[in-house]
């Protein structure tokens, strides 16, 4: 009896909590005049609403989607709240990290769910990045989110094209084919230089800025440069949040379970009626669409796109990040994104601490040496990356405390 009641209570609680917080916000807005006060109260109310929902017993098993939504909202709320207190260079790094984490999520899904591997996700990122730039140069008035969707569509389409042969390929063939695509991509770009701007790439026609009705929040007495960065960072974080929410549901859905079965035993999967080629193509398309979304966001963040960014080296970096973070996991993509966001800072810190000549050969190659080395060590000693290692430690600690 009690269980049944809780089951019905959980989504109700979320609704009530959201209504309460909206009422509270309206009350606060009418009471205070400072923008910071409003922002703070929204953030706190939303956090309370999410925590209330999450604290419902059995929520995770009875209403997994609600639970994930609340968790995503809570994460977004905290992350966006934090961005208001950071300087613009840190925000810029965070935005890049958020964009990269979307790409990593796609690769994590491809490998973790269906056991395929791609060395071409940097090129798929480039597809999205250039689609974004080309579209906004031709149709400057399209809203950002629509342009992002168009870029995702382009990525999915190219993913479908390359995914068709992928249905029949096993590991090494697929890896090699995507590698060939990654190597070919810069040549493809320069073949269509009238569209892609050749070696210099493209600029976005206008810098993205906050829409009028949000203006107040983003112009609270700071310089326009800071507010624009802040706005774009928050857009990137929100987009990443939505992408993570979708992916978490996909991982847990029927399709996700079918794909994990394919990864573990493809023959068994076929015997229970899963169509292998279709599942493989779907996984490949999802992964390339996510990569394209990340690339498009990166164009938005940088306000420009250059073909040199989308070389084979980027695909290799993507692979390193997700393997170090934890391939096949969602948290691994977050960890990888954070590593990417701050890797440049950390490496320049190492350079100054060790007294290396920052213009020297060694310092400029430090990035490759560290990432490559970590990639090998992770795969040899902790194949599930940081995420897997932490989970392993946690389960051991729990086993010990429970006797």
């Amino acid at each position: 009896m009690k269980r049944d009641w809780t089951r019905r209570r959980a989504p109700l609680a979320l609704a009530v909590a959201v209504v309460v917080s909206v009422v509270a916000v309206v009350a606060v807005v009418s009471a205070t005049t400072t923008r910071e006060g409003v922002a703070l109260s929204i953030a706190i109310d939303l956090a309370i609403a999410c925590v209330t929902t999450l604290s419902q017993p059995d929520l995770k098993s009875s209403h997994p989607v609600v639970s994930r939504a609340a968790l995503t909202l809570l994460g977004l709320d905290v992350a966006i709240f934090i961005t208001f207190f950071l300087n613009s260079s840190t925000n810029f790094n965070l935005a890049t990290g958020a964009a990269m984490s979307i790409v990593l999520l796609g690769l994590s899904f491809l490998t973790g769910a269906s056991g395929q591997i791609s060395l071409g996700n940097g090129a798929f990122m480039g597809v999205g990045a250039f689609a974004m730039a080309i579209w906004s140069n031709h149709h400057a008035t399209t809203p950002i989110f629509l342009t992002l969707l168009i870029a995702v569509g382009c990525g999915a389409l190219v993913g479908l094209l390359l995914g068709l042969p992928a249905t029949r390929l096993r590991g090494p063939y697929l890896a090699g084919m995507t590698l060939a695509f990654a190597v070919a991509f810069t040549f493809i770009l320069s073949s269509f230089s009238s569209w892609t701007g050749g070696d210099s790439g493209l600029q976005l026609p206008t810098e993205a800025s906050a829409p009028r009705w949000l203006d107040g929040f983003f112009h609270a007495g700071t310089s326009p440069l800071t507010t624009t960065t802040l706005y774009i960072t928050d857009v990137a974080i929100i987009v990443a949040g939505v992408a993570f929410f979708f992916m978490a549901n996909l991982f847990a859905s029927r399709t996700g379970r079918a794909m994990r079965l394919i990864r573990d035993n493809d023959v068994a999967a076929e015997l229970v009626g899963i169509s292998l080629p279709r599942a493989r193509v779907v996984a490949f398309i999802v992964s390339s669409a996510y990569a394209a979304l990340g690339g498009a966001l990166l164009t938005l963040i940088n306000n420009s796109v250059s073909p040199a960014t989308y070389s084979f080296a980027l695909s290799v970096t993507i692979l390193s990040l997700i393997v170090i973070g934890g391939i096949g996991t969602i948290s691994g993509a977050v960890i990888g994104g954070i590593i990417y966001a701050f890797s440049t800072n950390v490496i320049s810190w190492i350079t100054t601490q060790t007294g290396l000549n920052p213009q020297g050969n060694f310092a400029s190659q430090l990035n490759g040496i560290i990432f490559g080395g970590l990639l090998i060590l992770t795969m040899l000693f902790a194949p599930l990356g940081i995420s897997g290692a932490v989970r392993h430690l946690w389960s051991r600690v729990r086993a010990r405390t429970q006797g």
Binding site: T111, G115, I117, L119, L162, L164, P165, R168, L169, R170, G171, P172, Y173, A175, G176, M177, L179, A180, F181, V183, A184, F187, I188, S190, S191, V267, F312, V316, L319, S320, V323, N361, F362, S364, Q365, L366, N367, G368, I369, F371, G372, G373, L374, L375, I376, M379, L380, P383
Partner: protein, 299 residues
């Protein structure tokens, strides 16, 4: 003299042949490792690159070209053997993405370390042969002493590998331990050693290829010298079938000739795109390669 030999088509075929044997050798070295250990070695370009840098470091001690080549081969043997023992040995039987990821990591590390030590500026290697094309009735024939040296070396290497595998006891053991490692072990074959040997052999084939590529007048030795060539080598190996050494070589040579025609009649940018299309089409028609016997995957 016959103008046919200096015509555009023959020029393209000869030019393509020179590139083609290079692709064929890279494809062969990939197949050697794939057949014996089931690993697609993504560092197959970087390992020989590193060995070539180390070997040609002897130049500054006033050693000659051939001494450097021998040094490169010895370093290649060492790198190949050590890689198999230290990096790859633990990965047999693991999910197939594990060795791919490790070898990609090794590729990054080798290229970064090489650039850190020797910088990424091209370093020109000495060559014992001239690059000047022979003339036929006042027109250049697309062959020079150097390209003949390239083609002949490639043929020697390919023949040597074929003879080793077909006609020697060692070759028989190598093939046996690739096909049926357990049975071979029971019959007294030291399978572990042979796997190491397979990697050493493949790296030596790679070293010879890299020296030929890097000695080319227009190229020079850089840490990333083999990246593009590796991509073409892989495309050739995949089209020919990773199981078939002959298929890999034939596909490599054909790919080289096709590339040359595309360069001549379309443009430079289209080359890798056409190669990619060829790869995709051939994989859709025959996923395990054109030259391999179709075999059902065992469950």
């Amino acid at each position: 003299m016959d103008p046919f030999l200096t015509s555009r088509i023959v020029t393209d075929v000869l030019g393509g042949l020179t590139n083609g044997v290079i692709f064929g050798m890279v494809a062969l070295s990939l197949v050697l490792i794939w057949r014996s250990t089931g690993v697609l070695n993504f560092a197959q370009g970087a390992m020989p690159m590193f060995a070539t840098y180390v070997g040609f470091a002897l130049l500054s001690y006033h050693f000659g070209y051939w001494a450097c080549v021998v040094a490169c081969v010895i370093v290649g043997l060492l790198i190949g053997g050590l890689t198999e023992r230290l990096l790859v040995r633990g990965l047999y039987g693991k999910p197939e993405i594990n060795p791919i990821v490790v070898m990609v990591g090794f590729l990054i590390v080798l290229e970064a370390v090489a650039a850190a030590i020797w910088s990424s500026f091209p370093r020109s290697l000495p060559t014992p042969f001239s690059f000047k094309d022979w003339q036929l009735a006042g027109k250049p024939l697309a062959l020079s002493p150097f390209t003949v040296y390239e083609i002949v070396t490639a043929l020697i290497v390919m023949t040597a590998v074929a003879v080793l595998f077909r006609f020697t006891k060692l070759g028989l053991q190598l093939r046996a331990s690739a096909v049926a490692p357990e049975v071979s072990r029971l019959l007294g074959v030291r399978v572990g050693r042979l796997l190491t040997l397979g990697w050493m052999l493949s790296t030596v084939v790679g070293v010879i290829t890299t020296i030929l590529v890097a000695s080319n007048l227009f190229q020079g030795l850089t840490p990333t010298v083999m990246d593009g060539i590796f991509a073409y080598g892989f495309i050739a190996a995949a089209i020919g079938g990773l199981e078939s050494p002959v298929g890999a070589i034939v596909a490599g040579v054909l790919l080289g000739i096709i590339n040359q025609f595309v360069t001549d009649y379309v443009n430079q940018n289209a080359v890798i795109i056409i190669a990619l299309v060829l790869l995709i089409v051939s994989l859709m028609i025959r996923p395990s390669g054109v030259f391999t016997k179709r075999s059902e995957r065992r469950v």
